[in-house]
Amino acid sequence: MEDREKLEALQKSTPARIGVGRAGTRPLTHTMLQFRRDHAAAVDAVYGEVDESILQQLGLFTVETCYGNKETYLKRPDLGRIITDEGIAVICERCVQQPQIQIVVSDGLSADAITANILDVYPALLDSLRVNDLNPGTSFYVKGGRVACMDHIGEVLQPDALVLLIGERPGLVTAQSMSAYMCYKPRKGTIESDRNVISNIHPGGTPPLEAAAHIGTMLKRMLERQTSGTNFF
């Protein structure tokens, strides 16, 4: 095979910036600009907010964690795991208690990820629950959430299983990647290895609709086996 063809085959196999050339010891202007653009998009994703109209469209109300502001959010992950007292009051008032499946959506580290994917993933997830004869409770949105906010919510609502759709830490390939964390009976004291995740959900990674369709199967299996996390496989 010609060297050029080999290089093209390698470039096709990865989104990493390989074979981009150089000018002396530095990257080409084009490469440099591309890099800075992608980096800026990642920063924007962290500091951005989910469009309110999207949440309304899906009928999700909003509660906040104790994160305060984005600067604190980044420095104090622990605060993103606790819902504010006001938030808990709203949850208690508006949500079905002890649902079979609790769905929670959160911006996490990328509001863009939610904006880009949730309108497709959320209805597909509801379909997936329906096909698997699973009943969702009352879904809502958590602003400033970290993954382990699942435990606080689990403690309050006592669901059999909870699925959290949350924006991932953005990278240079995409700033729109979302994860679906799942846990059987998340409660205070649940540890990381009790959770399962489907990550990298975005049109260039794990296909969003297919991920949503598979979540129902995973949740159903969790309820059948009454466990999740590393015990699950």
């Binding site: 489907i198 049109p203 297919e210 991920a211 129902g216």
Partner: protein, 481 residues
């Protein structure tokens, strides 16, 4: 369940020989724990190869089905293989045997009695493809920047399959094989295949059943058959009479340029013998002209522009292809109703949707189904498999429109169908299957699988789920005919 292996058999009932192989295929999870499950066949291991049996015939026109069944039973017993262990594989009737009056019945009968999901396969194109996979030509084409063609020459036919970058790009079949002339050591001709008779007649070569022949006459026949076949493959001009030796109709487009030619099949085994058969006794030692064809091929090999290599899997290429390479597996996130599997021999309806707007899907699906009505099986519970190719659909609303359009047109064209089968090229079957399933309730069983590429004119067999969520699939390609 991170790894699982299953048994696959290949059975080849050829013009002169019948053989069986047993292989172990190992499935492994290739995706990480944070991703959707994705399994692939990570190893194909040849476990057992039977002795080579003479194909039992009742007469010139009929296969001795009972005897073939007895051979297989004997082989299964011999290696202690039970039918329920055999999870996939293929029975193929090849060469001139495929033209016997009971060929179709035999292949289906055996497929259904050889294991849980053993498929019936036939057709010169498929035979060539399986041989090309079994010989290693397909694999070779992934390592080598050019076109690798495999010629599998047996008793009745020479099946050529072309591969580039691991993909089949064409096939052609010739009536060139050892058993086309059967004779004894005295030079008495016992039979001449009818295809060859026409060629001999046009070339004014007097050779017929019951006549006496000479080593020189046979040598010139073998030399002309091989030479013209290689001329044809290298796109040189050939004698007009060569048309009689092309099986079926000649390929519609120009044949690809060959860079490397691999030879497999019974004749390739004989090519290892460097001695040129001179006497009638040496020529007719198998009762046919096989040894002469082999020595002609070997002598002439240098004259053509492509490099000629002998396959590592000579006589067994087709049966190895049938047993080890015929099965593929679907993606691991699919929507299936295991109760309706396996499904066999579904004709494929192909819908390429690149560039079709969501609102135009209904019309596109309608046209595809109208066309499919020509070859679908309207009486069957599953009349056809709808193959969708194009990029993954990422929009929920588009997917809903697509599901509705497919369902409406399918039930419109096939009102008696009980099972709707959809085969997506890319990873979207679970989402589409769920959308279909929610819409049709209990009226139809939905089988929606993905990561399988099929074309119009193919036939597909879908097996029972292996570890509970992915299915083995065999595609019987007729795309080149």
């Amino acid at each position: 369940m991170d790894e699982l292996s299953f048994t696959s058999v290949g059975i080849d009932i050829g013009t002169s020989t019948t053989k069986l192989i047993v292989s172990r295929l190992r499935l492994g999870r290739v995706s990480g724990a944070l991703h959707l499950p994705r399994y692939e066949i990570i190893e194909r291991e040849l476990h057992y190869a039977s002795p080579i049996y003479s194909t039992p015939l009742l007469s010139q026109d009929e296969i001795d089905m009972d005897e073939v069944a007895r051979i297989l039973r004997h082989e299964y017993d011999h290696i202690g293989l039970s039918l329920s262990e055999v999870k996939s594989g293929a029975v193929i009737i090849t060469g001139e045997t495929a033209t016997k009056t009971n060929a179709r019945r035999v292949v289906h009968y055996l497929a259904e009695r050889s294991g849980d999901f053993v498929v019936a396969a036939a057709g010169a194109d498929l035979e060539g493809l399986l041989a090309g996979k079994g010989s290693g030509a397909e694999q070779r084409s992934t390592e080598f920047p050019g076109v690798v063609a495999n010629v599998d020459i047996g008793g009745g036919t020479a099946n050529v399959a072309y591969f580039r970058e691991g993909k089949a790009i064409g096939t052609v079949t010739f009536h060139v094989g050892g058993r086309l002339i059967r004779l004894d050591e005295q030079g008495l001709v016992h039979s001449v295949s009818q295809h060859l008779q026409k060629w001999l007649l046009e070339r004014r070569i007097p050779l017929a059943e019951g006549s006496k022949t000479t080593p020189d006459q046979l040598k010139s026949i073998a030399s002309a058959m091989c030479g013209e076949m290689l001329d044809y493959l290298s796109k040189e001009a050939v004698d007009p009479s060569f048309r009689h030796l092309i099986a079926g109709s000649p390929p519609p487009g120009p044949l690809p340029e060959i860079d490397e030619l691999m030879i497999s099949g019974g004749i390739s085994t004989l090519m290892a013998d460097r001695e040129v058969p001179e006497s009638m006794a040496a020529i007719a030692r198998y009762g046919d002209i096989g040894p002469l064809l082999a020595s002609s091929l070997r002598q002439q090999a240098d004259k053509w522009p492509f490099r000629i290599v002998t396959s590592g899997q000579t006589v067994q290429a087709t049966v190895i292809g049938a047993g080890m390479q015929s099965v593929e597996i679907s993606g691991s996130t699919v929507h299936i109703d295991p109760a309706v599997l396996p499904l066999r021999n579904l004709p494929v309806l192909h819908l390429e949707y690149t560039g079709i707007r969501p609102e135009d899907w209904r019309q596109a699906a309608d046209e595809a189904m109208l066309e499919a009505a020509k070859y679908a099986l309207p009486e069957a519970e599953a009349p056809c498999a709808i193959a969708l190719s194009g990029a993954v659909i990422h929009s929920y609303s588009t997917l809903q429109m697509v599901a509705q359009a497919l369902l409406d047109t399918f039930t419109g064209h096939f009102p008696d169908a009980k099972i709707m089968v959809v085969v997506c090229e890319h990873d979207m079957a679970k989402a589409l299957g769920q959308a279909l399933s929610i819409r049709c309730g209990k009226c139809l069983n939905i089988v929606c699988i993905d990561q399988i590429r099929v074309e119009r004119g193919d036939y597909i067999d879908i097996g029972e789920p292996l570890p509970g969520f992915l299915v083995p699939v065999v595609i019987k390609t007729l795309a080149f005919s």
